[in-house]
């Protein structure tokens, strides 16, 4: 896998609007962004309502994913182009999620919604009707998903990459600074984790930095040992999906997992070790 296999620019997206083999999907937490205007022909996915189980804290299961994609008119043969707001956090999360269920023909739009808007490209409010399909998902690929016991066992043994902001890492904030801070769980980070905020991997317009810049960031600046397996985490697993995309898809690192339970799970566990303070 390399950059050209997984990442496309806005010109590519514009050229494939209406391509019957390509389904463009906007993924947001705030789906009113889609309602305000989206890339013409794009459908929407809500990262929570559509992709999370409504009762248990987990993803929708294989059957649920099959039902969702069938209902939205996505088939196994479609190339799915994902984009979204927040510098593609939720689109990267959906990308990882599609890969988790075995959909390999998936692409991310570099810069996402932000670059599209800042470039003043066309946005449409037309909502496309897509014919139903009969989608078949694979079993979850657990080689890219970490659960809590694996994370605990990885302390001091694997690369743990905390991609939250330095204030969240140090324990001064419990959520990003654009959200209220009324959280109940403990603050801090998993011992031995390196702090490489997701934002360092992105340019101001939301596009990813070059491969050379990214390698320098993780290897030289953060001191990540690319010879070891890696688990990335954030608060709820979407910023770390952005970093998973960088390490696993752009830099082609094997054995990189996203811990989607992330800090909202780890910081609420009883009896686990937590560190406070700045990155070392």
């Amino acid at each position: 896998m390399s950059r050209s296999d997984v990442l496309v620019d806005a010109d590519w997206a514009e050229a494939h609007i209406g391509d019957p083999d390509v389904v463009i999907v906007e993924v947001d937490e705030d789906t009113t962004a889609y309602d305000k205007g989206h890339i013409r022909s794009a459908i929407k996915l809500d990262w929570k309502k559509d992709l999370q189980d409504p009762v248990r804290r987990d993803f929708i299961d294989k059957t649920g994913f099959e039902a969702l994609l069938s209902e939205r008119g996505i088939s196994n043969d479609h190339t799915v182009l994902l984009y979204g707001g927040n510098n593609n956090w939720f689109a990267a999360y959906a990308y990882w999620y599609f890969r988790l269920y075995g959909h390999d023909k998936v692409l991310l739009l570099d810069g996402g919604r932000k670059k599209w808007e800042l470039d003043s490209r066309e946005l449409s409010t037309d909502v496309p009707e897509r014919p139903r399909t009969s989608y078949t998902a694979a079993e979850q690929d657990t080689s890219i998903r970490a659960l809590r016991d694996e994370v605990l066992a990885a302390i001091g043994k694997r690369n743990l990459v905390d991609v939250r902001s330095p204030d969240e890492f140090a324990g001064r904030l419990l959520a990003p600074a654009h959200l209220p801070q009324e959280q109940a769980q403990r603050a801090g980070h998993i011992p031995t984790a390196r702090n490489v905020p997701w934002s360092k991997a992105a340019n101001e317009d939301g596009t990813f930095r070059s491969d050379d810049e990214l390698r320098h960031l993780y290897q030289d600046e953060a001191g990540l040992d690319f010879g070891r397996d890696t688990i990335a985490y954030c608060r709820i697993g979407e910023r770390s999906a952005h970093t998973w995309f960088v390490l696993h898809e752009l830099l082609d690192q094997p054995n990189v997992k996203n811990y989607d339970g992330s800090w909202t799970e780890y910081g609420s566990l009883v009896g686990v070790p937590i560190e406070l303070g700045e990155a070392r």
């Binding site: 947001d28 937490e29 705030d30 009113t32 962004a33 305000k36 990262w47 929570k48 707001g85 927040n86 510098n87 956090w89 939720f90 932000k114 808007e117 800042l118 470039d119 003043s120 902001s165 330095p166 204030d167 001064r172 904030l173 959520a175 990003p176 600074a177 654009h178 959200l179 209220p180 801070q181 009324e182 905020p197 934002s199 360092k200 101001e204 317009d205 954030c234 608060r235 709820i236 979407e238 910023r239």
Partner: protein, 102 residues
């Protein structure tokens, strides 16, 4: 606003300032040619341009951050290469209001 999430709030400022309680709120509005800028982004940056947070502007050009106390740089990006920067101070229990004309 989705307090359970980690992403964008519902376009710009989504909660009355009075409800900010003891938090360090930085909020405001972005205006261009006398009209609110409804498409654009507000970024909060720390020392050395360290990224802290970003929100899309609301229909009224509004934005809001729940920051840690301290000095921050607010940067606004909008289509057409429009951009502006302001220095802001945040403290617990205070709403810092910034009006940005670009």
């Amino acid at each position: 606003m989705s307090p359970g999430g980690c992403g964008a709030p519902v376009g710009g400022a989504g909660k009355p300032a009075a409800a900010a309680g003891g938090q360090a709120v930085v909020e405001g509005r972005v205006v261009h040619g006398g009209a609110p800028v409804a498409t654009g982004y507000a970024r909060l940056l720390g020392t050395g341009d360290e990224f802290v947070a970003e929100v899309p502007l609301g229909e009224d050009g509004g934005f809001r951050f729940f920051a840690a106390p301290g000095s921050w740089t607010l940067r606004v990006l909008a289509p057409g290469g429009l951009r502006a920067e302001r220095s802001v101070e945040a403290d617990y229990g205070r709403v810092t209001t910034v009006e940005v004309t670009i």
